[in-house]
C-alpha cells in the first residue's frame, strides 16, 4: 500500500497546479469575522429592545411590590440587613457587638447601611 508522502517543504508539486494562484486572504476573513461580531453586538441591542417591549415582568413586579407593600429585592436572604438593606438601621450589621466582623458573605457585597432620614431628604434626586 502506498501512502501519499507529505513533503517537508509543504509544496506538493501536483497539488500546486490545481490551487488558485491567490492564497486565501486572511485579512478578509478577519474583517468578515469582525463585522459578524459587530453585527452580533447590534443583535444584542435589538434583542434587548425586543425583549424589553415584550416583557411585562417589570410591571408585574412593580404591581406586586405595591400590593404587598414590599421595600426591597429578595437578593440575599441570609441576614436581615441584607434582605432588607433599605430598612436596616445603622447598627444591624454590628448587632453582636460594635467590633464584630460581618460574617455573612453578602454583607461584604452590599455595603453598610447609609444613614437616611430627614438629613438625606434634600440630597441628590433619584428618578421616580
Amino acid at each position: 500500500m502506498v501512502f501519499p508522502v507529505a513533503r517537508r517543504d509543504g509544496s506538493a508539486r501536483s497539488g500546486s497546479l490545481s490551487r488558485s494562484p491567490f492564497p486565501p486572504n486572511r485579512a478578509a476573513t478577519a474583517l468578515v469575522l469582525l463585522a459578524a461580531g459587530l453585527a452580533a453586538v447590534l443583535g444584542t441591542v435589538l434583542d434587548a429592545a425586543f425583549r424589553r417591549g415584550e416583557g411585562e415582568t417589570g410591571r408585574g413586579t412593580a404591581r406586586m411590590v405595591a400590593d404587598l407593600g414590599l421595600t426591597d429585592l429578595a437578593l440575599f436572604t441570609e441576614a436581615r440587613y441584607t434582605r432588607n438593606p433599605s430598612l436596616a438601621d445603622l447598627h444591624t450589621p454590628f448587632q453582636d457587638h460594635p467590633l464584630a466582623l460581618d460574617h455573612f458573605p453578602s454583607g461584604s457585597l452590599i455595603g453598610p447601611p447609609t444613614p437616611w432620614g430627614q438629613a438625606s431628604l434634600t440630597k441628590g434626586e433619584v428618578p421616580e
Binding site: A40, D47, M64, L68, L70, D89, L90, G111, T114, L121
Partner: protein, 391 residues
Amino acid sequence: MIRWFRVQVLMIDYTLASMARRKARNLGLLLVYAAILFVLASVTLFTGALREEAVRALVGAPEVTVQRMVMGRHALIDRDGLEALRAIRGVQWAEGRLWGYFYDTANGANYTMIVPSGGIVPSGGREAVAYGAPPEPGFVRIGGGVARSRGVAPGDWLFLLNPQGRLFKLRVEAVFPSASELVSADLVVLSEADFRAFHTLPEGVFTDLALGVRNPREITTIVEKAALVLPDCRFITRRDILRTYDALFDWREGILLALMGGAILAFMILAWDKASGQSPEERREIGILKAIGWETGEVIRARLWESALVSLFAFLAGYLLAYLHVFFFSAGLLRPVLQGWAVLYPEIHLTPRIDGARVLTLFLLTVGPYVAATLVPIWRAAVVDPDTVMR
C-alpha cells in the same frame, strides 16, 4: 480612501501571517483577554439590568416607611402612631405593616413573612388588589424559593414550627410567578390572624407603618411634620430606597471589579511583556521592513493592527458570551457570589438592558490600555535605522 483601505487590508494580512507563527501564544493571549472581558462584561450587564429591575420594581414601594427605633434598634410600633400620622395634612393613607423574618429549622432558610398591606385591620383606606387581598386564615401564598426548598406546590401543606415550637399547618394557596422572583423568592404571605398567632404578636402593634401621600412633592414637608409627631421614628422614603439600591449596585460592582483588579493587572503585565519583549527576531523583522521601503508609521500601524485585532476580537467574544450568560443563562456563574450562605435565592430572569455608556467604558478601559501598552514598545522598535540590516 480606497488606497488607504487597500494598504490596511494588506497590513492586516501581514499581521495575521506573522501572528500565525506563534499560534499557541497568541490564541492563549486572546483566550485570557476574552475571559477577563467576559467576567467584566457579565458583571456590568448583570448589575446594570438588576439596577434597572430594582428601579422598575421599587417604584411600587410605599412612599414613606416609618420605623420606630428603640436603643438604636428597629422596634414594634403601635396604633397611636398610625392615628397621629393620618392627622397630618397631605397624608393620603397610612397603615400598619406586618412583616418579619423567620428562620426555618427544617432547611436552614430564612423566609420573609408578610401580611399584604390591604389585609391589615384597621385598613389604611387602600383598595384590596390582586396580590393584596390577604389569604384566608390557614392559607399561605409563597415565593418560588420557598416552594423549591420545601418541595411544595399549590394545594400542598406547608408545616412550620413557630419560635415557641408550635406546629402550624398551612395550605399553600399559590406560588408567586417565577417572573417576580426577584422580589418574591422568600416570601410567605399569610393572613393577619395567622401572622400574629405564629409570632405571638399582640393586637394593635405593627412591624412598621407605611404612608401614601397625595402629592409626592410634599414628601419632605410631610416627613418634617411627622418627625415632630413621632420623634422616635425613622422615616424612609421611596427615594431613599431607590438610592440604597443605586449605591448597593455600585458597591457590588466595585467589589467585583476590585477582585478582578488583580487579574486585570496580571494581564496588563502579560500584555506589556509580550509587546515590549520584542525579541531580536522581531527587531530584525522590523529592520527588514524598513529597509525594503516601509516607513516608521507603516511599521507601527501594522503592529498596532495586531493589538487592535487581539483586543477587538477579545472584546467581541467576551461581550457576546457575557450577554448570553447573563440574559439567556440567568448569570449562572455569578450565582455563587450572590448566593453567599443563603439557602434561598431568587431565580433571576432579567430583562436585557444594555447601558451603552457602561459598555463603552468597559471597551475603553480594556482595549485602550492594551493598545496603549503595546504602542510604546512598538514605537521604540519601529524607529530603528533602516540600514541596521546592512551592518
